[in-house]
Amino acid sequence: MTRLGMVIDTRRCVGCQDCVVACKTENRTPEGYNRDWITYATKGRFPTLSMTIQSERCNHCDDPPCVSCCPTGASHVHPWGGVVLIDHDACIGCKACVVSCPYDARYIHPDGYADKCTFCIHRVERGQDPACVSVCPTHCMHFGDLDDPESEVSRLLASRPHHANLPEAGTGPRIFYLD
């Protein structure tokens, strides 16, 4: 089985937002809406502070609550790679998926349907990386098959300490951050 996922090196990410702009350009998201975003988490007390910058998006979870709560099947798992996608013409805009996502990754498009990151499945199926990964100037983002032990993402996860966001929510997120 192919399980597509992302590994992002927080030691290299500078929070330049190039991934955010690339996604917006590639996927033509409407004004005011982003499929990916940057978070800045500051730990400690002044003057002993540390900051972690992360590029975030839909986690394409192994057990996605947005898919199980969808009353029409519009939210679905793509048979190849396990990417979580939305069939816009089957979406009734009930917002159950928006409410069910621990990452607040989804929004309602001004045209009425739920929308979010697709891992740029249209690019991936042509053998390209997602737009955000392809433009990263510090090469901090890696994309590939988590089930293939020889893939770049699997090797990075095997060799470096890492974390996922909110694993306690129990959805099985597939975006990992190298510490």
């Binding site: 940057i38 500051t42 400690g44 009353p71 029409t72 009930c94 409410v99 929004y107 309602i108 306690e168």
Partner: protein, 315 residues
């Protein structure tokens, strides 16, 4: 170590998690209320007129079915208003998604209508009976005990399904810790039964039935208070995220409205008033049932809004 400051550049309009507004709260109340009417009228139909000894028994009359029909239709209108992609609403009825409570709900709502309409057709209001002779012929079936008991059973089943699903709908959305309790199903069901009993209490022309309904409502309110206590204990003794969610009702921003309006005005006050009424200490009034209905609406509003304010936190 948890971060002491967390900033996100995600600013889309629903990024704060508040996707659902008054429409969902109103629907959950009206759905629960209709469920209560269905279960109570189903029980009354199964027991039959002998149990009350008097004709015109309000619970088994078509009057409550008409009120239920109006309430559930208003509720579905509220649901429809909430949809952001309205032209595609028919998509609910070309599939059955067994893991989605909302899909179950869509089909349960389709079950509720024939039950309510049969209840009205078997005992049509006089104005309708005079205009549509076919209805008068149909009403003769109402005298058949098997028809009456069968309709009662269907009514109870549809009511239980409708009442429980409105709670499960919320508890199945794992991202909101305040909702991740199976007790929301029985809590919403009992609240729906209680609001249904309160309305029937006001609508009944019979002193004996009003007395019975007040006693029944007291029992339901007591069970509801116990369920609320268990629900909060369950959350407060669970993980940090769930305990934080419980704090929204135990010291946080929703505390005052929850304890004063939902628990105080909506449960404790009517329980006290109805206990005195049942004991014959004060004259029966509509005050207690009205308070129960207010409490039922506000319970849905508090849980829908506070639930969306609860989340798995990175802070």
């Amino acid at each position: 170590m948890s971060p002491s400051e967390f900033v996100s550049t995600s600013h889309h309009p629903l990024a704060d998690g508040h996707a659902w507004g008054w429409e969902i709260a109103v629907y959950l109340f009206l759905g629960g209320f209709t469920a209560g009417l269905l279960v109570l009228s189903g029980l009354a139909r199964r027991r039959g007129p002998r149990a009350t000894g008097e004709p015109g028994f309000a619970l088994a009359s078509s009057g409550l079915s008409i009120v239920g029909l109006g309430a559930i239709s208003l509720g579905m209108l509220a649901l429809f208003l909430d949809l952001a992609h309205k032209p595609f609403v028919w998509r609910l009825y070309v599939t059955m998604e067994p893991r989605s409570p909302m899909s179950w709900g869509a089909w349960i709502l389709l079950l509720v209508y024939p039950v309510l309409l049969t209840g009205i057709a078997l005992d049509p209001p006089r104005a309708l009976r005079d205009r549509v002779p076919a209805l008068a012929r149909l009403a003769r079936y109402a005298e058949d005990e098997r028809v009456r008991r069968g309709l009662g059973l269907a009514s109870i089943a549809a009511g239980l399904a409708l009442g429980v699903y409105t709670g499960i709908l919320l508890s199945a959305l794992g991202a909101r810790p305040l909702w991740s309790s199976g007790l929301l199903g029985p809590l919403f069901l009992v609240s729906g039964l209680s609001t249904g009993a309160a309305f029937a209490h006001m609508a009944s022309p019979l002193a004996e039935e009003r007395h019975r309904l007040a006693r029944l409502d007291n029992l339901l309110i007591a069970v509801e208070l116990a369920l609320i206590a268990l629900y909060l204990i369950g959350l407060a003794s669970s993980t940090e995220a769930h305990a934080e969610a419980a704090k929204l009702l135990l010291g946080g921003p929703y505390t005052a409205v929850f304890w004063v309006v939902v628990v105080g005005v909506g449960l404790v006050a009517p329980l006290a008033i109805q206990a005195l009424t049942v004991a014959g200490r004060i004259a029966p009034t509509h005050v207690a049932p009205v308070l129960v209905l207010i409490g039922g609406i506000v319970l849905r509003f508090v849980l829908v809004f506070a639930g969306q304010a609860s989340h798995w936190s990175r802070l």
